[in-house]
Symmetry: C2
Subunit: 363 residues, 2 copies
Amino acid sequence: MSQRKTAGDAGRATIRDVAERAGVSVASVSRVLSGNYPVSEDLRRRVMKVVRDLDYVTNAHARSLAGGGTPTVAILINNITGAAFAHVAKGVEGAATLRGWLSLVGTTGDDPERELALVNLMRQQGVAAVVLLGGAYDYDEYQLRMARFARSLDAAGSHLVLVGRPPLEGDVPATTVDYDNEGGAYAMASHLLSAGHREVLVLPGHSELTTAQGRLRGAQRAFEAYGVPFAPALVRRGPYDYEHGYEAVEAALEETPGFTAVLAGTDVVAAGAMQALRAAGLRVPEDVSIVGYDDIPLASQLTPQLTTVHVPYEEMGRVALRAVADRREGVSGRRKGRDGDHLVLGTHVVVRNSVRPPATRRG
Amino acid sequence: MSQRKTAGDAGRATIRDVAERAGVSVASVSRVLSGNYPVSEDLRRRVMKVVRDLDYVTNAHARSLAGGGTPTVAILINNITGAAFAHVAKGVEGAATLRGWLSLVGTTGDDPERELALVNLMRQQGVAAVVLLGGAYDYDEYQLRMARFARSLDAAGSHLVLVGRPPLEGDVPATTVDYDNEGGAYAMASHLLSAGHREVLVLPGHSELTTAQGRLRGAQRAFEAYGVPFAPALVRRGPYDYEHGYEAVEAALEETPGFTAVLAGTDVVAAGAMQALRAAGLRVPEDVSIVGYDDIPLASQLTPQLTTVHVPYEEMGRVALRAVADRREGVSGRRKGRDGDHLVLGTHVVVRNSVRPPATRRG
DNA sequence: ACAGACGCGGAAACCGTATCCCACTCCCAC
DNA sequence: GTGGGAGTGGGATACGGTTTCCGCGTCTGT
């Protein structure tokens, strides 16, 4: 007596239990369930009945081990709570589910250690791809770190996808899905300038954050194009959050008043800025105009509704997953990774009603 | 010649590759890596060097199959984008990562079919628990469906956790993490009534949504306690979104003007309502007061900042995971599932500045 | 110096599934 | 009636680890 599991007891039913109970072989059950092999109608019925009776589901781990298995994509994100990247995650997850893929999610909380740990964890899981969301901090070490991730994942048959970050330098096996960050900032700043604003408070974000760098560059280019001097005193840096927007405006009103518009690096920053202006008794947009960036739902829910730059976050997520899926299909070329490595999506200004020409008050 | 994989080629390195290259047995490598067995320092060093050289990670599927493996919790959610439930997800994920657990995430998009498919998928994955987020639609079929999920998962050694929904009836193996929904609504409505408001526009949400039912009940109880008649004409139903808030107020201003306050079922609905009032030339809170529910970041970012009910969403997520983890430790009692089955967290009103006593204008 | 005990390395069984390959059956055509 | 072909069932094996059991070597105590 081999004393196997006393049937029907604890744990889940195995394919053997099903086979035994249906009086067929294990292989037949597997074939009925995977459906990629012809079986008689009678067999199918018998097996399916037992499957329903036992409420049997195949063990995904065993299945993956044996070669099959549902592909899984890992989503690594700083903070699920951020509206912008939640939308990207939604795009990835939605596209994944559509193809029957699974989505693992991990949050890094801006901690490089945790990021490393998570990438390794995902590597263990044998994920088809790791999608890294969010602007990166452009430390020296960053490029090396990411390159190592990329090669490591590539060697394990997986793939690294960077969303919303600039592409990696050199011949690194990674895909980047990006948006025209600088172009959006250029257009947004131009909008303000063409409305007549000349003294603009700029809140671009942290200087190490690649996203912030791009947005600032775009704004600068616009100022140059309009021949308007870019006053460093009117640039205030800080994190992409509500509090920063509030405090920056508060401080600017104190130290460098006279600006007629605020160019915020983010809708959330713009919201904080708007609140601070109100608290100081200024009206938006009558006294001061404000623009944001991202076009998250908040932008259209503020009063006045925010003129901002639309970024196709959810589509970026979908595109990222498609890139991975396509690459997985086209295993023919083997060592490719040439095209489709860097996808850039467009942005555009959404005009609402937080901008007016400046009141004629400075002299 | 057994013609195994030509070492160092495609795919990931196996434990055998490591063993071979280090000149030790497979078992030794496993022991070094899992660390649950004494090994000599020399062996450890030799193995670890090869592990680093090969950038080896264990195959999670194989490990799970063999009994070990990292526990995984599945988070099923209607829409990641919703701020409230994103916070719950964050709580679950954070607590999971803290314990070295993994988080799978799936979105159901309010589709029962997809929910079913996802629960089955998660069952295949052998997850330690399935956490279902969000208010439920109280159809007749719902209770049966959930009970089936619960039993099914329980039989497979997993567990169902309902967050933000009322508990299941009968002896169902599921855990519920809830908050004092009705109590919060009672307190919120009382706040409005004690400020002197008598004509209150109520936007409770969809009548089939359990969350909405609770919030409406709480409000009604408060009205009764204050001896204020609850006017059905001033109740407008609809989805929990910005547009509904806007349109409901628009319609109410047309059909049943004279209300001095809006009791919104959600902060987002409140935001819509606020916008509509402004569009109609009314000031908040001077002409009309508004209160929300949920206390998402948006609430404090609006102008004026919204008085609302704080719901400990992130903590609910943490509590949910802890409940699962505890249950998993305490396998001693075997057939328990008695206590800890229904956890209720408290809510409280957060007073900001969207409420004022009604202007003396009605006669 | 010898016996016993302890520590550590290695072979093999097993986890649950998919699949290759072979054998068997049934049917049809010659 | 028999041979061949098509179609279906079943046994064996691989997937990558973990773990148990066993054996050998060395250290210690008397």
